[in-house]
Amino acid sequence: MNANECTSETLGDYVLVRLRGEVDLSWSQQVRRAILDALGDTGKVGVELSEVSYIDSSGIAALVEGFQSARSHNQKFGLVAVSAAVMAVLQLARLDRVFPIFADLDAARAA
């Protein structure tokens, strides 16, 4: 079982927010803050989700908020290496075609 973790890594002009564990209501506010902070720092943000084994609607809401904020400020926002568990929920929420989704960090940075 992964411990919940949220880290931000700056790679030049790109900030990668890396999430691990089960994103749920108990700490999704922290995720939301991290994403919005990253968007405050730079114009290109990705959220890495390969180690996320669970995400609930409050976690999805944090991603949606980041996406909408980026769009209104002409910033770039994408999801990187989305795990199957997250993808299933994105599909259920019909958001799988709303977010830019990248297989890996290189693809995300090149976009």
């Binding site: 749920d24 609930d56 999805i60 944090a62 299933a88 929920v89 259920l92």
Partner: protein, 568 residues
């Protein structure tokens, strides 16, 4: 004859006095006719009074028989009794009055070709003058009123014709009213008798058995009474005998025959013959006794619940339908209907029922009309069965009947369902009570996963169910326990056959259930996803407040197919 009496309306009367007398007479006549609806009581005296008032030697009343279209003399006054005399419309003075719906006068009957001379010839009475008016109603004439021979020897004149026409009006009205009253009474009587017949018929159908009994039947008559039947009874060896049938034709005679055929089949089935022999015996008996081209379509069968096998034989009945869950198997008739060919032989087939459902239905079930469009048909019925396949047999049959009733029944409809009741016990898979705190959810999800894995639920579906229960719990935390209230949530997961149940209870103030609706997922926005997830995943869910204003209960159900396939 009685020529000394002053004429009722004669040249000696002033027109005014004559009119007043006529009006007075009309009023009295109307009143006397209104006394009773029994025409036999009122019409006879009325006709005698009319004869006297008109100063005629005789009078008669003819009524039109709606069925035969013949005019028949119903009442007479005066010396000649022609009650029962029948005339065709258009025949004679009376017939013409009705045909033309206009008064007819004959001033010299002996030389009038219209006048039927036969009556005089037979009675010796001499008809000199005639006046006849139709009994007019809004629906046309219903008969005629005729007076014969003015007592003063003169001919009837235009005034007489006009007065008689006025007099005929209340008579026609009285007759019409009485007939309508009779019709209503007759209809009520028939309705009462039909209801009685229906209740007797219903009492002949077997009582529904409680508990784990594999057979349920239902009979829906298209009208009050039915030509369909079904029955089942225990055999001495513990097996169960059953039959279902449909008498050709509709109506009372089919209903009577149904009673006879059902008791014949019950009687001959007592000895537990093989179904083919059972049909053969009933067929021979019915070939000897059925008349008028009547025949009977039926299925007979014997079910052994220890081996879960049924043997059935089908005589011209619609194909038996075996629902295996994934496919239907259709079993057509094994021989002709009963009562047609005395030498007929019937095949029989053994059905390994297992967990499958055997449907036997009379053709009324597929003849059901979809609005004004086509019949429901066998395909439509299968679709309906498929739609409700998840329900237990009894609610499923109720649902099917509901669907058929929502359409238009044109024929008696009978359904018999043979299915072994499945294990209906409710197993508790998980029971948790935890503080309404999001930090609890990780543990709750882990417990849910484990419990669902224990039920062999496919991983994709398992994860979806975990998500949805999580969403339901966090919704309670955020919305029910709002404003920092603390409390607990009780989660209970159960399984009943293929149905998973999730029950969540809290102690928060009752929420307004009508305001909890799934949002449209096609719009991209952050909030309200939880309910949408629940709605998209569960087969059924609802929320209710606990009486007393505190506490809510959310119930969600998910059907999981017996063999877990990758779903959703």
């Amino acid at each position: 004859m009685n020529a000394t009496r002053p004429a009722a309306v004669g040249p000696r009367d002033s027109a005014r006095a004559g009119g007043r007398r006529a009006l007075g007479f009309l009023a009295d006549l109307s009143q006397s006719l209104a006394v009773s609806l029994d025409l036999r009581e009122t019409l006879g005296p009325a006709l005698a009074r009319i004869m006297d008032f008109m100063h005629a030697e005789g009078a008669s009343l003819f009524l039109l028989d709606a069925a035969t279209k013949l005019l028949e003399c119903k009442i007479c006054a005066g010396p000649v009794d022609i009650v029962g005399l029948k005339l065709e419309v258009g025949q004679g003075v009376v017939g013409r009055a009705v045909a033309e719906n206009a008064p007819q006068r004959s001033d010299d009957a002996r030389r009038d070709a219209r006048v039927n001379a036969r009556v005089d010839a037979e009675t010796g009475f001499v008809t000199r003058t005639l006046l006849c008016v139709p009994l007019a109603t809004a629906q046309g004439p219903i008969g005629a009123l005729e007076i014969i021979n003015r007592r003063d020897g003169g001919a009837f004149d235009d005034d007489d014709a006009e007065i008689l026409r006025l007099i005929a009006a209340p008579m026609a009205l009285a007759i019409n009213n009485a007939r309508l009253a009779l019709e209503v009474a007759e209809q009520q009587r028939i309705r009462r008798e039909m209801a009685l017949a229906r209740s007797i018929q219903k009492s002949l159908l077997p009582r529904r058995r409680r508990g784990r009994f594999p057979l349920i039947g239902v009979n829906l008559p298209a009208h009050e009474i039915s030509g369909d039947f079904y029955d089942y009874f225990d055999l001495a060896d513990g097996r169960l005998a059953f039959f279902i049938g449909d008498i050709s034709g509709k109506g009372l005679d089919a209903a009577f025959l149904m009673v006879r055929v059902a008791s014949l089949l019950r009687w001959s089935g007592r000895a537990a013959p093989a179904p083919a022999a059972w049909l053969r015996e009933a067929n021979v008996e019915l070939c000897e006794t059925l008349q008028n081209g009547r025949f009977v379509c039926a299925v007979v069968g014997i079910y052994d619940h220890r081996t879960r096998t049924a043997v059935i034989a089908n005589a011209g009945f619609p194909p038996a339908l075996l629902d295996h869950g994934t496919r239907f198997e259709e079993m057509p008739a094994d021989g002709p209907p009963l009562g047609i060919i005395k030498e007929a032989e019937y095949g029989e087939r053994t059905i390994d029922l297992g967990a499958a459902a055997l449907y036997l239905f009379s053709d009324g079930a597929t003849d059901v009309r979809e609005g004004v469009r086509a019949r429901l048909g066998a395909e439509g019925l299968r679709e309906l069965i498929r739609r409700y396949a998840r329900l237990a047999p009894e609610p499923r049959l109720r649902a099917l009947i509901g669907e058929l009733k929502r359409r238009r029944l044109v024929d008696d409809t009978t359904l018999l369902l043979l299915q072994e009741p499945r294990g209906s016990e409710v197993r508790e898979l998980l029971a948790l009570r935890f503080p309404a705190d999001p930090r609890e959810m990780r543990r709750v999800r882990a417990e849910l996963r484990t419990a669902l894995d224990g039920e062999d639920v496919a991983p994709e579906l398992r994860d979806r169910l975990v998500l949805v229960v999580d969403e339901a719990c966090t919704n309670i935390m955020r919305h029910a326990y709002c404003g920092g209230e603390s409390g607990t949530i009780a989660l209970r997961m159960t399984r009943e056959r293929d149905m998973l149940g999730f029950e969540l209870r809290d102690e928060a103030p009752c929420v307004d259930a009508s305001r909890i609706k799934p949002r449209d997922l096609s719009e991209c926005r952050a909030g309200g996803l939880g309910v949408a997830f629940i709605d998209a995943t569960m087969d059924a869910w609802h929320i209710e407040g606990v009486p007393g204003g505190r506490g809510n209960r959310l119930l969600m159900r998910k059907y999981i197919p017996a063999k877990t396939e990758s779903e959703p």
